[in-house]
């Protein structure tokens, strides 16, 4: 897998480059601002881009804007956005325009290498990755959506894990459930949200979006 990295702190940038190298991920470009990232992506056409939200020159949300530009211009390139803090509106902006190939994680998660690398691979493969902290915040607000209001506590929990981008197997593992029963719950969620039967992956994304837009 080939990735481009945009991070303005040189220490951290080098760290990420080395870390990804050790996990057999090729870093084709490591830059320090949004404009340079867009150039690098245009030239290298990587599988995914890792982007820090806050970068020069304004230190506000240029990373997020660069990520949205990449998603709009190159549908095949996934973006994984890192933020210094939990900002649900950023997550909404990213996910409302894209079903899949996007991720939004707290910067802290880079330390949990396996989660970080896993999320990056998932995003490059067309999935989503959402920080558990962001999901927790979104879950804390009881949804106004009638369909979401019908969900049981267990189903909400599973929907939260779906939103993080986990597979049925991974959900079963983390909740100590049988995979079969996770599948049942997921089907129940789809039914309660009135999501018509389609390819199941697509429905997963729709369920997550419903839940984010609440």
């Amino acid at each position: 897998m080939r990735v481009a990295i945009a991070e303005d702190n040189p220490l951290l940038r080098d760290g990420i480059v080395l870390l990804l190298g050790e996990h057999d991920i090729e870093v084709v470009a490591a830059v320090s601002d949004g404009a340079a990232l867009l150039e690098a992506v245009k030239k290298e056409q990587p599988d995914a881009a890792v982007v820090d939200v806050r970068m020069p020159p304004t230190h506000t949300d240029e990373g997020l804007r660069a990520a949205l530009t990449i998603r709009a211009a190159y549908p095949s390139i996934g973006v994984l956005v890192f933020s210094q803090w939990v900002e649900t509106s950023y997550a909404r902006r990213l996910l409302s325009e894209n079903a899949g190939k996007v991720g939004y994680l707290l910067k802290d998660r880079i330390v949990s290498t396996d989660e970080f690398v896993g999320a990056l691979r998932r995003v490059a493969d067309g999935g989503t990755a959402l920080d558990p902290e962001v999901v927790r915040h979104l879950l804390a607000a009881p949804q106004v959506d009638a369909g979401l209001a019908r969900l049981s506590a267990r189903e909400r929990e599973i929907l939260g894990l779906l939103a993080e981008g986990r597979s049925n197997v991974a959900i079963a593992e983390s909740l100590h459930l049988a995979e079969r029963s996770v599948e049942k719950h997921v089907t129940a969620i789809f039914t309660k949200l009135d999501l018509i039967h389609d390819r199941s992956d697509h429905r997963r994304v729709l369920a997550v979006l419903r839940y984010l837009k609440g």
């Binding site: 760290g15 990420i16 900002e87 649900t88 607000a141």
Partner: protein
């Protein structure tokens, strides 16, 4: 001739000419403000009827502008200066600044007009008397006012004229001093008002400094400390990945957990300092808060400008506290947050559909919500604002915070 020399010496100073110009021009320049004062007196008499009150209100609003008018002249001719008057209070008829200015319009005109009248007479007769010997010599009597019978007597008259002209600058100076005294008592902001203005400016500077400091600390923590901790974590992860020794791997993993905890703590600290989301504007920050709220909350922000950091931060923390209260005590299912402004104020309203009784709740348990609401009131007061809680038993609870608009 020494008298004439004295007169000449005083008359040669620029100050005297400027003061003379001040008094003479004042008699003309102060006519409109005197008319204003007379109208004011008439309006006071008429104030038993509504029309008179309306007129008086208008006149007072005009009178409030006169200090600047008087100051422009005094600045140019006398080099005097004084600070602007304090902003108008809400009720124009109780505006002491305007009343004092109106009094000055009257008294200042009477003083200057009388002085100018006397000055012109003194100038005319003084000059005529001083030059009397010449008139005598030419055998003309220009003013028919001089009644000397001998050549010697004309010299006495000349001496008197010189004395008069010598005294005139001192008279003018006295008038200017009297006018300055009137200006000090009637036009300049009172000592208390000046002190208040000074304190307000000091407090505003302190608030701006504090907000800027918190912002800088937040930025340093995020861009410096957090980035370093994450780098450290990444290095530990790489050690874990590279080593074959189980002991080293465990040690690195433990260290990495500590780093993760430190990062979580850091995030919590920063959130309490300066919410980073505020950098993207109040609406984004409040939406983030609402998204995090346990009770679904709708946010509507409609502002004509961007409030200063201290104000935005106060609104943010107030909303955070109120949403926590709503979730804990109100038994509400929805909450609404609105931020609006008008010409002078900024209003925050947080409403819920709960069972109300917020004030009683705080009284009953003495902690929790009570200290929270009191803290919010203090925060509002520190910014010259107010916080009102309307929470009848049975609900709903509506909390309104009003802050001065400073943008």
């Amino acid at each position: 001739m020494s008298g004439a020399a004295q007169v000449y010496r005083v008359w040669a100073t620029g100050r005297w000419w400027r003061e003379l110009g001040f008094v003479l021009s004042g008699a003309v320049l102060r006519l409109p403000t005197f008319a204003l004062a007379l109208l004011g007196i008439a309006a006071c008499a008429l104030s038993v009827v509504i029309f008179g009150l309306a007129l008086l209100t208008g006149l007072l609003a005009l009178a409030r502008r006169t200090p600047r008018y008087f100051r422009a002249v005094a600045r140019k001719l006398l080099g005097q200066d004084w600070p602007d008057v304090e902003p108008a209070s809400s009720f124009p008829l109780a505006d002491s600044t305007a009343w004092r200015a109106l009094a000055y319009c009257f008294l200042g005109f009477v003083l200057i007009y009388t002085a100018a009248y006397l000055t012109i007479i003194a100038l005319g007769s003084g000059l005529a008397a001083l030059t009397y010997p010449i008139w005598w010599f030419l055998d003309v009597n220009p003013l028919e006012a001089l009644d000397a019978h001998t050549w010697a007597q004309t010299w006495i008259a000349a001496g008197e004229g010189a004395l008069l002209l010598f005294a005139l600058p001192w008279f003018i100076r006295l008038v200017v001093l009297a006018d300055s005294w009137l200006v000090r008592t009637l036009l300049q902001p009172s000592r208390a008002a000046r002190r208040i203005a000074q304190l307000e400016a000091g407090r505003a500077a302190l608030q701006a400094d504090a907000a800027a400091l918190l912002r800088r600390v937040e930025r340093d923590l995020h861009d410096g400390t957090q980035a370093r901790l994450v780098s450290l974590g990444v290095q530990l992860a790489r050690i874990e990945h590279k080593t074959d020794q189980a002991e080293v791997r465990d040690l690195a993993a433990d260290s990495r957990d500590t780093v993760t905890e430190a990062l979580t703590e850091l995030r919590d600290i920063v959130r309490g300092l300066h919410p980073p989301a505020l950098d993207d504007g109040l609406e984004v920050a409040l939406s983030t808060l609402a998204g995090r709220s346990a009770v679904p909350a709708a946010v509507a922000v409609d502002l004509a400008g961007r409030p200063p950091d201290a104000t935005a931060s106060a609104i943010y923390f107030t909303v955070a506290e109120l949403l926590t209260n709503v979730a804990r005590h109100a038994g509400a299912t929805r909450a609404w947050i609105t931020v609006t402004d008008d010409a002078t104020r900024l209003m925050l309203t947080v409403r819920d559909d709960g069972h109300g009784g917020a004030a009683e709740t705080s009284g009953a348990d003495g902690s929790g919500a009570g200290t929270g609401l009191a803290g919010l009131m203090r925060r509002a007061a520190a910014l010259d604002g107010e916080l009102h809680i309307a929470s009848p038993a049975g609900g709903p609870t509506i909390v309104t915070m009003t802050l001065p608009r400073e943008y």
